[in-house]
């Protein structure tokens, strides 16, 4: 086992930690820092439950080795809002009942926030008709495509799309 000292910002708070070089950002959050809002669904980059914002961009934290995060700014679901003061996207998920078991939910919400920022920056998707529009066009079809990296097995997609649509300015 090789250990590394690491400094990074999680939800705007500086953390100085010693991590196993094999440890993912996901397990750093969950097992070392007890930030269990970020979920492990597949540990393999295939389900999206572990989605966090890494320097503002959505990533699967199970595919990021913690040691690569020196100086990085990580936002997890715990950094978005509190039960009394939810982030608007969290509130939209509540209002549209865009969740059931809740296990994919933090990843869906982080992903949705990251996705809206991608749209603002003009990042196209597989179904975009224009590769150059800034911001990119966002309709139901685009949301479905852009959110397809976040699996939900309860079958809440219909409500997830509605929740995100309600946040499209």
């Amino acid at each position: 086992m090789i250990e590394h000292e690491l400094s990074l910002y999680i939800n705007d708070r500086l953390h100085q930690v010693v991590v196993d070089s094999r440890r993912t950002l996901l397990d750093l959050l969950r097992e070392q820092l007890r930030l269990t809002g970020t979920k492990k669904g597949c540990d393999h980059g295939q389900c999206g439950a572990c989605t966090v914002l890494l320097d503002g961009t959505r990533v699967n934290s199970c595919l990021v080795l913690a040691v690569t995060c020196e100086g990085a700014h990580v936002t997890t679901v715990e950094g978005l809002g509190t039960a009394d003061a939810l982030d608007p996207m969290q509130e939209a998920f509540v209002q549209h009942d865009a969740l059931q078991c809740g296990y994919c939910t933090p990843g869906q919400i982080c992903s949705a926030i990251g996705m809206l920022d991608e749209v603002r920056r003009g990042v196209p998707s597989h179904v975009s008709s224009s590769l150059e529009a800034v911001p990119a066009v966002l309709d139901e079809r685009e949301i479905r495509e852009r959110m397809s990296g976040n699996l939900c097995r309860c079958g809440a997609y219909v409500n997830i799309v509605d929740a995100i649509l309600s946040q499209v300015g």
Binding site: A83, T105, N150, A156, Y157, N159, V161
Partner: protein, 694 residues
Amino acid sequence: MSIQAPERLSFIGRDIERVDARLKVTGRATYAYEYPAEHVAYAYGIGAAVARGRITGIDSSAAQGVEGVIAVLDHTGAPRLGETNNRELLVFQSDRVSYRGQLIAAVIAESFETARDASQLVSVSYEQDEHDVVLTEDHPASFRPEHVAYRVPEVSVGDVETALAQAEITVDQAYATAAAHHMALEPHASLAIWEEDQLTVFESSQYAYEARDVIAKLFALGPEQVRVINGYVGGGFGSKGSPRPQMVIAAMASRVVGRPVKMALTRQQMFPVSGYRGPTVQRVRLGANRDGELTAFEHRAAAQTSRLHDFAEPCTTGTRTMYAAANRFDTHRLTRLDVPTPSFCRGPGEAPGFFAVESALDELAIASGVDPVELRIRNDTTRDPSTGHEYSTRNLVACLEEGARIYGWSRRRNQEAEGWRTGHGVASSMYPTYQMPSRAAIVAYPDGTFAVRLAAVDIGTGSRTALLQIAAEQLQVPLARVNVEIGDTSLPYAVGAFASLGTASWGHAVHLAGREMRQLLEGTDTIPPEGLRVEVDTAEEIQARPAKANAAFGAQFAQVSVRRHTGEVRVDRLVGVFAAGRIVNPRTTRSQLIGGMTWGISMALLEETALDPNLGEYVTSDLASFHFASCADIPRIEASWIEEDDADINPVGVKGVGEIGIVGTAAAIANAVFDATGVRVRSLPVRLDDLLGD
């Protein structure tokens, strides 16, 4: 019957926010693996590399030598376990391998990374036997099981052969459905903590008391020595209805190393170890007159199980309830193969069974020229055609008519535009209404608040919210004054969350407890500081129910587009109308129904866990190769219902909505594919190559 005063508080039927939604969207709902435990160790399982055989040697010395490894457990040194009726749970008790991927050893280490890393160093040798993993309709080893999901395997009424011989129209077709896995997003996980001879397990379980009793027997403990906590569960769909091997391993390892141990199945391990919907091969024979009125109805199903435990997918039991035909026969065959044990999976039996039956009905509609909605209405019945019992409520016809109206069935058109052909299909849905005894306690406190306590569980269904509404309605107090405490065997006994019986069973108990508490409070002046407590059991009332047939019904309408040159199928629209008793919460009910219908689309077009007959293994064992519906696969889904007032089923009038949404969906879609293309697909999932050819 009490007369409702105008100021009466009413919560049942109100659109109330899911009570744990805010916890879930902030990541503060705690699932089994996430409970803090001091000095916790991590277990990582190792799966067998052959499908059938014997372990001849396990060398774990290299793994044992890795810094941070605490122990390696396998059949040569593991503690002996007690009795169980499920041999899947007798982990590390034998050198026998019954399926590929069966957990045969585990590494316990200071960290997950070390445990996983060291597991690669464990070397296992096998004596491999020929395996048999392929289900066929007429497998020579098949047999009629003693029961299918607690019901008889076969029912015969009248004389099917004679009726078929005399029928003006017949349908005789074979149908098949693929193996598919539950794949709840939360992997099966257990955190076991021993304190002396007391064991606490935080468990991803749909049924805490069952898990408690099973684990107690395995470790020769009294039930009171085990506590199981399942406060939040990240989906189950049947796979978490009974304990899985990781629970036994966590408890065993914790006892061996003298520390809390936690273990989660990896996503890949979930394929062999956590159950699945087994493949089915079915045959349906229908006899009818020229008007489409059924005279004969036969449904035969073949399914597989493992060599460890018999589980028979109850494919034909739903058929017993569906349509009036004087002559009926249904039966099951089961074959034990060198495969993992299948299990209950959302809409067990009905989901694959209704694909066959509701496809066959569509074939009869085509053959008779009767509209498929009208055909189903014509064959409706007011009595269960197999038992003769009257239905407490049966609103299949109302669902078909209302669904047809919402969908615009009479105005449907086949279109072809830009290479896409559009078609429309319909199918009926049904799920039986079950109820099992449960207990519930309510405590009234001097500050005017109430605690509702029972070991129910909310696996995402919204039961926490529904029970709160039922309690507040009985107690006649605002929702904010009631706390619902569930998910823990330190609470009164409650049956698990399965078979759509949760809210019916628990709601009944909460309703009774609420009524008793209200009566108690009417004769009470002051509440002592520790509170006033009532506890009830529904067993007697359930026994005393009238002998009637109880089921929820529904109808689903699908529009699909099929791309002529590629065979790609898209579901454009899915409409479902259901009659499922009293709806406690429209918001969570709609979510449940849409969830089931989403599963139905997924089953129709995507889900198949592919078996490699040579390896004897389900090889599409991750979420990139076993596909279930993603956001891009799901269109707008419209779910609605016809409210029923059914006092015969339980005092709340709840039938349950967890399963019915998936029942019939795949047939509606396959029927729409036929309508679009003229190709009848009788094997799920519908594949591109089924539809190529012109």
